[in-house]
Amino acid sequence: MKEVIVYGPGCKRCETVEQMVRDTATRLGLDVDVKKETDYAKIAMAGVVSTPGIAIDGKLVHAGGLPDEAALEGWLSA
């Protein structure tokens, strides 16, 4: 099972990204564990400069803005 962490202090866009990850996983029938990290220190430690950021299994795949739908599918099913 993939572990996905969405990094964001809780702005609207960060919540949208979290929902996108959940929706995409459900649509692809994937079983993923989605966590949200809102702690500034942890966000910075992960190397995220522009939020929201997405890490999958500990690897940062996206930072800043909403990810492309197709790219998100790619990361989740890789």
Partner: protein, 353 residues
């Protein structure tokens, strides 16, 4: 009256040339409609049962002209800035600034602040990311001051509503304040006034630059459209509020009252404008229609610029966010230095013009 509908919202498979053609057509249609706006506002005002030369008529004509004008200007500019910004990212900017000496670093940081995309909720991670990657504190501040103050929305709206000279003056002095204020804060060596946990953070190496790979031009257009959705979708309400207030000033506030309160004769008007601006939180899009109306009524240029800079660059909510990374003393220094710069610009312009 928005022109977004002319944007091609084509599926992914659409060839690149149709995107280029679509963007050209959109831009031409934009200019044609834009030229018709004065006639449109007069026509619309004439339809209503008010005397054109009355206070209400003046206010309505101002409102009907400025609302579509500002929203159209904003749509065009935000789109193209979205395209330009797709060439930049906070990660790239950080790499460019890391280890730069003060001075050169401050100038670069202020300039990059104009084009680097970042939303205000990213301010804290960005701040930590910069400082922990070896960007000097003062240089980081130059970036943080320039980024909201000297943005494309402010420049273009000033250009369109007030005139290109004022827009250029604002650009030059906005950058100057960001550069000098950042440099001064750097001189104070206040690293000890960061919150303790920020100083303890050590990030191993630079983060991977995940956001910007090799993008195609079509993807950059998509970025532009996305920014229009994000920004115009968010600020239109502020614009309407700003223009309404501007229209009321335009129609109802008598000239001599404004000259007495905000004219260049009243020296205290500059500090008053700065103090008034701090708790007000809006963005450039909301404040510029007010600026236009104030100038029109004889308010002094320096006072109005000081008010505008204070509203945009010194905002109470942003300080609440920064409180998470900066000790109160450092926030006070930040506010003090920036306010001093704004005051200097205000007095200077009132003295010259």
């Amino acid at each position: 009256m928005t022109t977004q509908t002319h944007e091609p919202s084509a599926p992914r498979a659409q060839p690149a040339w149709s995107w280029h053609a679509g963007v050209v057509v959109f831009t031409i249609v934009w200019f044609v409609i834009y030229k018709q706006l004065p006639a449109f506002s007069e026509w619309l005002t004439a339809l209503l049962p008010v005397e054109r030369s009355s206070h209400t008529g003046e206010a309505l004509a101002f409102f009907f002209y400025d609302t579509p004008k500002v929203i159209m200007l904003l749509t065009l500019i935000v789109f193209w800035m979205g395209v330009v910004r797709s060439f930049f990212s906070p990660e790239k900017t950080r790499a460019l600034l890391s280890g730069k000496a003060e001075g050169v670093g401050n100038v670069m940081a202020a300039s990059l602040g104009i084009v680097t995309p970042f939303c205000s909720c990213s301010a804290v991670p960005l701040f930590i990311g910069f400082v922990s990657a070896g960007v000097p504190l003062g240089v980081t501040f130059s970036f943080l001051i320039a980024s909201p103050m000297v943005n494309e929305i402010a420049i273009v709206l000033l250009w369109g509503l007030v005139g290109w000279k004022v827009a250029m003056i604002y650009l030059a002095f906005g950058l100057a304040i960001a550069i000098v204020a950042g440099w001064v804060i750097g001189r104070f060596h206040l690293e000890g006034w960061l919150q303790d946990w920020v100083r303890d953070i050590h990030i191993g190496g630079a983060a991977p630059d995940v956001a910007s790979g090799k993008m195609t031009m079509v993807e950059r257009y998509r970025d532009g459209i996305q920014s229009v959705r994000d920004i115009v979708g968010k600020v239109w309400i502020w614009i309407i509020a700003g223009i309404s207030l501007g229209a009321i000033i335009h129609g109802y506030v008598p000239q001599d009252v404004m000259v007495r309160i905000m004219g260049s004769g009243a020296w205290w008007s500059v500090p008053a404008a700065v103090v008034m601006g701090i708790p007000m939180y809006t963005n450039a899009a909301g404040v510029i229609p007010i600026v236009e109306a104030l100038l029109d009524k004889g308010a002094a240029l320096g006072t109005v610029l000081a008010f505008m800079m204070s509203v945009i660059a010194l905002s109470a909510p942003e300080m609440m966010i920064l409180k998470k990374v900066l000790k109160l003393k450092l926030i006070a220094v930040f506010v003090g230095v920036v306010a001093a710069g704004i005051l200097a610009v205000g007095f200077l312009f009132n003295a010259i013009f």
